[in-house]
Every structure is written in C-alpha cells, then in structure tokens.
C-alpha cells in the first residue's frame, strides 16, 4: 500500500500508530491519596461549626477533588485543548443556569410584596401543622379572605363585571 495518508493537510508517516501519553502508576496513586486526604478533610470540617462558610469550604474542597479527578483520571491534562474547552463550556452553562435562577428567586420576596401576591398551601387537613410553621406573613387570614373573595368573584358569573364589590384592605393594620 503506497497511498499517502493526510491529516490536516500534512502527510503523515504511520496512520496506525497511536502516540498517547501514558501516565506513570505513581501519579495515579498520588492522586488517589490526595483524594482520600481531601475527603477526610471535608468529613472533619463538617463537624466544625463554621456557619455559612461551611458551604463554601465544602464546595471548594469538592472543586479541588473534581479538578484532580478530571485532570488526571480523565486525562484532561494530556488531551487536546478542545476537550478542555468542551468540559469548561459545560461548567459555564451550569453556572449560567444557577446564576440566573438564583438571582431571580432572591428578588422574588420583594417583588411579591410589591405586587401583593400571596402563596397558599392547598394540601388538605393533614398539613395543618405544616401550614402553621410555614406561614410567610403574619396577617395571612386577611390574605386568605381576599383570595377567597377573588376566587368567588371569578368563578361565580363569567358575564358579571370583573371586579368584586367588597374587598378587605390587605394593608389594614
């Protein structure tokens, strides 16, 4: 067979040979030891009372472990750059997903107050206790009455005028 093989426009000698980087066994053992150490660290730190920082510490350690697994066990360090790009773009999209959702949800409380929307749990008699511990606002009996009035007005007569006549004032002290 005297046909030349080309790759990216340049002729190459042997199409069959595969030149891949073989990591030494000691590297894998070292990475495994580092992973065990980091796991122990997460476990130990979880017993210390760090407050809100405990989430960030745990995430930091998890990211370190993830980097070790990705770079060495998954060979990302020795692969073409494009593979790293694909992996990092996944992480970026996950970050976009998290960021936008959490930004939206964090501003929900103020938005709900301005719009005067209220949430109600319609679970039935079993969840009375849950309702008591999960009331978002103190004056909710009035909110319930207001919502009932709105619902009655909507369901009673489709041809009736849109606004219900008597609405209790939700802002009454």
């Amino acid at each position: 067979m005297t046909t030349k093989t080309f790759l990216n426009g340049k002729p190459i000698e042997d199409a069959i040979e595969v030149y891949e980087h073989v990591s030494p066994m000691s590297l894998y053992v070292k990475v495994l030891a580092a992973l065990f150490v980091l796991t122990g660290l997460t476990y130990a730190v979880s017993f210390a009372d760090l407050g809100p920082a405990s989430l960030w510490v745990a995430m930091g350690v998890a990211f370190a472990k993830a980097t070790l697994v990705c770079m060495f066990f998954m060979h990302l360090k020795y692969d073409e750059r494009y593979h790293v790009f694909v992996f990092l773009s996944t992480i970026i999209f996950v970050a976009i997903f998290f960021m936008f959702t959490i930004f939206d949800l964090q501003s929900r409380d103020r938005l709900n107050e301005e719009q005067e929307t209220f949430f109600r749990i319609n679970q039935g008699a079993d969840w009375d206790e849950a309702k008591k511990t999960n009331r978002p606002k103190p004056g909710d009996a009035k909110a319930d009455a207001k919502m009932d009035a709105k619902a009655d007005a909507k369901n009673a007569d489709p041809k009736a005028p849109a606004k219900a006549p008597a609405k209790p004032d939700p802002k009454a002290p």
Binding site: E20, V29, A58, A66, V69, H75, T90
Partner: protein
C-alpha cells in the same frame, strides 16, 4: 462495525474506519463524542443540584433538621469506595495503554466489585430510611419520621418530605447511573477477556472510564452537599 483497512497485521486496530485518516484521529473523535454526552449528564444532574440549592436557600432550618437523619458514615464509605473504583478504572485504561491484558481484566473486576459494594451500602442506607417512615415525596410518613428524629435528638421542622424527595431523587438517579455503569463495565470486561484491546485500540475502555469518572464526580459533589454541610 469492523472494516479492516488494507492488510491489518494485528487485531488491535481492526476497528479502524475508512473515513478517518489516522487511528489517533478516530480515537480522539470517539472521546470527544463521549465528552459531549458527559456534558449532557452533568447538565441533567445540575438541574437536581439547583433544586437542592433552592430548597436550601428558602428553608434552611428544614434542610438542617432533615439532613441530620442521613447517615454520614455510610455516605463516607460510599465516597471512599467510589474513589477507589475510579482509581481502578484509571488503572484499567493505563493497562490497556501499555498492553497488559491481564491488568485490564483484573482492574475491571475490581471496578465492578467496588460498584457493587456501593450499591449494597446504598441498599442498607435506603432500607434504613424506609423502616423509619422516610419515603420520598407524598409517601413520607410524617409521624413515624418525627418519632425517629426525636429518638436521635433532632427535630423535623417544616415540610421534610421535600428535602427527602430531593435526596431520594438525586441519590436514586445516581444509583441508576451506577447500575448502568456496572452493565457497561461487564460488557467491556467480556470484550477485554476476548483480547480486543491493546495499545493501538482501547477506545471503549477509555470512554467507559470517562463515564465512570463522571459518575464518581457527581457523587463527590453530592456527598458534602446532602450529608455534610450544615
């Protein structure tokens, strides 16, 4: 799937397809395809992780009270087992790279063994929950679970069935991934025993290794978030 290109002196590159220029290019393309699939897996789990973060953001006391009922020891054992299985998987890929067929087989056996240990520990963990009335979502037995919590010195506040719904969903989906991984590993083991893999062709071992490392990666994030963080 095998189209022998010209005269192939040894079986290892018998799967070289005609539309690739070199074997290395073919292996690289296969690996890239696998990484694209793994990107979808990561995004799938990220949806569940976001649900966890949202619940944690809005109901921190509920999450705090409920997550005390999870067994940290079992979670820790599972983490160590999965890390070891990741190591043996990387060893299997390395054995294929240097042409050590016996090494591939042994390491694949060890990986499958570690995965089975993971599933057994998970089985005990789940039955421990079910015995005490902790079920996902609407099957959550509030009375029995509160008793169990009080017996351990914790108090369940709010609606813990939501937290446990998320817990069972995330660990359950991860468990399904481990089971599928066991099946795929058995397939690769059978092929390795037949002698399909060598330094010139070990793409299936490498790709299954990538999948297995992602499964381990998801657990690395799952364990601190669900079990450890206050």
């Amino acid at each position: 799937m095998s189209s022998a290109h010209g005269q192939s002196p040894k079986p290892p590159h018998a799967f070289f397809q005609h539309h690739y220029n070199t074997v290395e290019q073919q292996a690289g393309a296969a690996k890239l395809g696998m990484r694209a699939f793994l990107a979808t897996e990561i995004l799938m789990f990220s949806g569940l992780f976001l649900a966890y973060f949202i619940i944690r953001m809005f109901y921190p006391e509920m999450v705090l009270g409920s997550h005390e009922l999870l067994s940290k020891t079992m979670g820790g054992i599972n983490t160590v087992v999965l890390l070891t299985s990741s190591f043996t998987m990387a060893m299997a890929v390395r054995s294929a790279q240097v042409g050590n067929t016996k090494g591939i087989v042994i390491n694949l056996y060890l990986t499958i063994a570690c995965a089975c240990i993971f599933m057994v520990v998970k089985y005990f963990e789940y039955t421990g929950k079910f015995e005490n009335g902790i079920f996902p979502g609407k099957y959550f037995d509030y009375a029995r679970a509160s008793e169990y919590a009080r017996a351990h010195g914790h108090e369940l506040v709010g609606l813990p069935h939501i937290f446990f719904g998320i817990y069972f969903c995330m660990t359950g989906l991860h468990g399904v991934h481990v089971l599928v991984g066991i099946g795929v590993l058995i397939w690769i083991l059978v092929r390795a025993k037949k002698g399909h893999f060598g330094p010139q062709y070990f793409t299936p071992v490498e790709n299954v290794g990538l999948y297995w490392h992602i499964v381990d990666l998801v657990w690395i994030f799952l364990f601190p978030l669900l079990y450890l963080v206050k």
